[in-house]
Symmetry: C3
Subunit: 169 residues, 3 copies
């Protein structure tokens, strides 16, 4: 059975809450892999809001080393939530990582996961083409990553207004 | 039976036309609750286009007092179209209303509606994160409102290219 | 039988690859109607990537005269891919064509197509309202075109993360 679920949605679409409910439903110990980094007060507020919902979760901070964090969960039978891939990708771009290679490593770890894992990401490609070249590049990387994760996942849900559209599984 | 239908979609997705057809299908007298305010010529053109389609409708202007407008419809057995929530929210922000409190009052009125009501709104959270802090705040409020309305509604339809995706009901 | 399929999706959503697979599945000779024009290096890179996937296809360049290109395919029993409508619309706007009239002519040709045709386009209306008036106008034209094509098509698929949501047919 494929253990990977991909939850995709817009800003404030309720995707994190939806993903948390999927994790809760497993009945397994809950691990939250956080990719967010607080660069400013606005980001800190968003992070605090998420944390306040997640009492009873073990938290692993993985702004960059997401594959390592997931790999560390092998053999433990926890249910693992990754929130979210777009922030991880932002961090990779800022730190000038090799993006295709980071994607390749992540996919390898997902393929061999022996526990449920739910990955959350923001759909960002449905607005007007950004004027900013960096934003266009970010959008392209994000779209490619989403296609790769969706191809690997057993279940893919698109969330709008808190409600899921089942894309796969 | 839940009388509330939520119609969500992008710009020029055909969501208003779709919502109007839902109202027409009830066979009841038609009321159009308009939240738009004409600040400029472009907006005036959009408003005129919508109005020309709506002969045979009673119109109530409610750029801010949407809950009052809906409350006034109790006991009348009209079918009520609210178009649209994103403009209402824009007006609330410009007038510096207390947003969470306005949402709370609106939800209360919807919960006790004794007539069909169709609410139209724009999905705005599926593009790149806006650089403008006000736009990010607007996007967050919109997303939260959509989740609340969708949770309350009996039917939720997402419109793309004039065609509905049924999210609920 | 309606021969027209409309494939709508975000940036890097996998919509072109998906559309190509629909064409391959017909087993007919493959024609690629390209609307892209290389104005800069970034665009040239995108075009080259698409071309490298399309060996074994006949290519017709139609940055503006899309209806003529489609009309030229009558009676040939080829499977025709148009990629993409948003670039065609961009070219029309730059060349100051009469947009409603160009849409009308395109729809007429689609209505009488005697071969499979798959049209690809970008959904661009699900982000924050653009500050730029030209971008708003582009978004409006795009939305109207999508509604018209979707109404004409026998099949409409919305693509996210490489996966289709069936809107029609």
């Amino acid at each position: 059975m494929n253990r990977v679920t991909f939850v995709l949605g817009g800003a404030r679409s309720g995707k994190s809450t939806y993903a948390e409910r999927l994790i809760e439903a497993t009945g397994l110990p809950k691990v939250y892999v956080a990719t967010a980094q607080a660069f400013d007060a606005e980001m800190q507020t968003r992070i605090s809001e998420h944390q306040s919902r997640r009492t009873g979760w073990q938290t692993i901070d993985a702004p960059l080393k997401l594959a390592d964090a997931l790999h560390s969960q092998r053999g433990k039978n926890n249910a693992v939530l990754v929130d979210c891939l777009t922030l991880w990708l932002t961090n990779l771009l800022i730190a000038e990582y090799d993006i295709p290679s980071a994607f390749h490593v992540l996919l390898g770890v997902l393929r061999s996961a022996d526990h449920p894992v739910v990955l959350v990401s923001n759909e960002v490609g449905l607005g007007i083409v950004p004027e900013n070249a960096l934003a266009r590049s970010f959008r392209d990387h994000t779209g490619r990553l989403h296609q790769m994760i969706a191809a690997e996942a057993g279940h893919v849900h698109f969330i709008a207004a808190g409600l899921p559209i089942k894309l796969k599984g």
